[in-house]
């Protein structure tokens, strides 16, 4: 039974993964035609480097969407973690990281428990949480979180530096390790199965004895911690930390998951698809930057392409 479900899910997904891969290659070639420099090892390295934080944020978003939820507070969770790391870095790196991930755990727990135990709508819960966090950090900057806004050097290295040889950089290694663990968790562990199960039919899962609230709690905590990692990496890449650090990554994190074929209704999708979505969006933003278009045109093309990809995807999965 379990096996057949897995086969059904993977068969449906793998076909579209190849379509996405084709789109990625096409986009890559188009970008290379416009900007010949793009067709080189260093720029592939840069693309992967820039894709890593989005990949981590989108991983968090993937797991939420697989349960049929969404986390709109993810950008503030990410920015908050980066903020805490930079402010607390004077106490030592490990302590700073401890506070940052404790923060992620607490916020993820509040989200998850409110959604799981009290039946809050995920959209409203995380929207409200987003507003609360914006307020908390806006107040915190001048009071209890006063301090340095620069990220410790070692984290800057971990977010930007080359690892051994050129196209592979530290953030890509981190993304590969975390993403690999995440993929293993989703596809090969009980928790992963339960996440798919409650996304498919929470009522049926509950009747089958699954403690749905515990799964949702775990989901939002994992999402928040992945968000925190992505946020710290973003902070390292931009050097200095601000509250608005990850704001422009919230919608792409959702878009990457959706382009990757994860249903927002839950139960269908994979992280492999999300990785494709992340890479497509990163190459796309490079392409839009090379065309040297205005911010307005960029936004328009970005929106239109996300819509077109989602639509194409919906049609493909409808026919299969």
């Amino acid at each position: 039974m379990m096996n057949s479900i897995r086969n059904y899910a993977t068969a449906k997904v793998s076909k579209s993964i190849w379509t996405l891969f084709g789109i990625l290659i096409a986009l890559f070639l188009v970008t290379s035609l416009i900007d010949p420099y793009f067709f080189s090892i260093p720029s592939i390295g840069t693309t992967l480097l820039l894709a890593a934080p989005l990949g981590l944020l989108a991983a968090g978003q993937t797991i939420c969407m697989l349960t049929g939820g969404i986390d709109l507070s993810l950008a503030m969770i990410a920015a908050g973690a980066a903020f805490i790391v930079s402010v607390k870095s004077s106490d030592g790196l490990l302590i700073a990281l401890f506070w940052a991930f404790l923060y992620c755990f607490v916020i993820g727990s509040i989200n998850g428990l409110a959604i799981g135990l009290f039946g809050m709508n995920p959209l409203i819960m995380t929207l409200g949480m987003n507003a609360v966090l914006i307020g908390v950090f806006a107040v915190g900057v001048t009071t209890f979180l006063k301090g340095s806004s620069t990220v410790p050097d070692i984290l800057v290295t971990a977010s930007t530096a080359i690892f051994l040889f050129d196209p592979i950089s530290w953030p890509v290694i981190i993304w590969a390790v975390i993403g690999g663990l995440f993929l293993f968790m989703l596809t090969r562990t009980g928790l992963g199965r339960l996440i798919y199960a409650i996304g498919d039919n929470a009522q049926a899962a509950r009747l089958a004895g699954v403690k749905v609230w515990q799964v949702q709690w775990a989901t939002y905590v994992i999402c928040a911690i992945l968000g925190g990692m992505g946020g710290i990496m973003l902070g390292g890449q931009s050097g200095a930390v601000a509250i608005s650090l990850a704001n422009s990554f919230l919608l792409p994190s959702v878009a990457a998951v959706v382009i990757g074929g994860t249903s927002i209704m839950g139960g269908i999708g994979s992280y492999t698809g999300t990785i494709m979505g992340t890479l497509i969006l990163t190459v796309l933003s490079y392409l839009l930057a090379t065309i040297n278009s205005s911010e307005a045109v960029k936004q328009m093309i970005y929106g239109a392409i996300v819509l077109a990809l989602a639509w194409t995807y919906a049609k493909i999965s409808e026919n299969s």
Binding site: I70, A114, F118, G119, M120, N121, L123, I124, M125, L127, G128, M129, N130, A131, V132, L133, I134, G135, V136, A138, V139, T142, N247, L251, V254, A255, V258, S263, I264, M265, S294, E295, A296, V297, K298, Q299, M300, I301, Y302, G303, A304, V306, L307, A310, W311, A314, K315, E318
Partner: protein, 318 residues
């Protein structure tokens, strides 16, 4: 009014009580209370109240439009760009054109959602990028203007508080009440509570949805034009559209519209936007950092939805 009606309106009574308490609180902070203050209140809530109404309609119909703020920003930029330096007659003509544009944008959004079968959140997230892009294309920089007599018609000359109140109440009288009593209104509640059952009872689900998104777009367009009338300029920024969208959802939900669909009305969201307006101003009146108001607004939204969920479960109505 019998017991059932009282029960049905209980949410509105709660919000009205909250508005009265917060209102008195705010008024007690002011040295004097006159027509100037009423006008400030009305102008403060007008754009967001209109947007919340549009969002409420769509949510009642079982959808959500995360591009509603972007639609308002687009119309704001369009009107500020083309109305600058026109005479009153042309401006009023343009108002109708822009209302049509807003309705059209809403209708297209609804059509895409129905036709593609993609989740509404995803479609509207993508169109929000698209629409803000178009707005920034039309008005790369903040600016523009509007005919002064038209602005006076929208916002009222200084102590005159009647026009903004009219623009607040008129859409309820002219759009909401006829809609509520029409077949479309019944279809709206039907597809919001149970889309499949509505379809099997002969409701044209796609068409109803397109119409609802169109009317939602109309409200967004009114909100955009009103913003131009109040601020006398345009602000083509993505974060303004995001904040407006979030506030419109918060307003609709605080106003008793269930995100599950099929429950609520348009009077609640108007009252809720008053609540959302009073909280920051009261805090400001105490000299508290306005950032705290974000915390209070967010926490209040969560708390109210939580409470509403528990109450609905207890009364057995989901």
């Amino acid at each position: 009014m019998n017991l059932i009606q009282v029960k049905r309106q209980s949410w509105n009574f709660g919000i009205i009580a909250l508005v009265i308490i917060l209102g008195f609180w705010r008024i007690s902070q002011l040295p004097e209370f006159g027509s100037y203050e009423v006008r400030t209140f009305a102008l403060g809530i007008l754009p967001i109240a209109l947007l919340s109404m549009g969002q409420a309609l769509i949510i009642i119909g079982g959808g959500i439009n995360l591009a509603l703020g972007a639609e308002a920003v687009l119309i704001n930029c369009l009107s500020a760009n083309y109305m600058e330096g026109t005479d009153l007659k042309t401006s009023i003509l343009l108002v109708f054109v822009f209302l049509l544009v807003g309705t059209g944008v809403g209708a297209i959004t609804g059509w895409i959602i129905s036709k593609s079968g993609i989740a509404d959140i995803v479609v509207t997230l993508a169109t929000s990028f698209l629409l803000v892009g178009i707005a920034m294309f039309i008005m790369p920089e903040p600016g523009g203007g509007i005919n002064q007599s038209l602005a006076d018609l929208i916002a009222g000359k200084d102590p005159n508080f009647i026009p903004p109140l009219v623009w607040l109440i008129l859409p309820i009288l002219l759009i909401w009440i006829p809609l509520y009593r029409s077949r479309l209104g019944i279809a709206m509640y039907a597809i919001g509570s149970n889309k499949d059952a509505a379809f099997l009872s002969g409701v044209n689900v796609s068409l109803t949805r397109v119409k609802l998104y169109a009317i939602g777009g109309l409200f967004a367009a009114i909100s955009g034009i009103v913003t131009t009338g109040v601020t006398l300029s345009s602000s083509p920024f993505a974060n303004i559209s995001n904040t407006a969208t979030l506030n419109s959802v918060a307003g609709a939900v605080l106003g008793g519209v269930s995100l599950a669909g099929g429950v609520g009305g348009l009077v609640g969201p108007v009252l809720a936007s008053l609540v959302l307006f009073f909280i920051p101003t009261i805090l400001l009146g105490f000299g508290i950092d306005p950032s705290y108001s974000q915390i209070v607004t967010g926490a209040l939204t969560i708390f109210v939805v939580l409470l509403g969920g528990i109450l609905r479960r207890r009364t057995g109505k989901r």
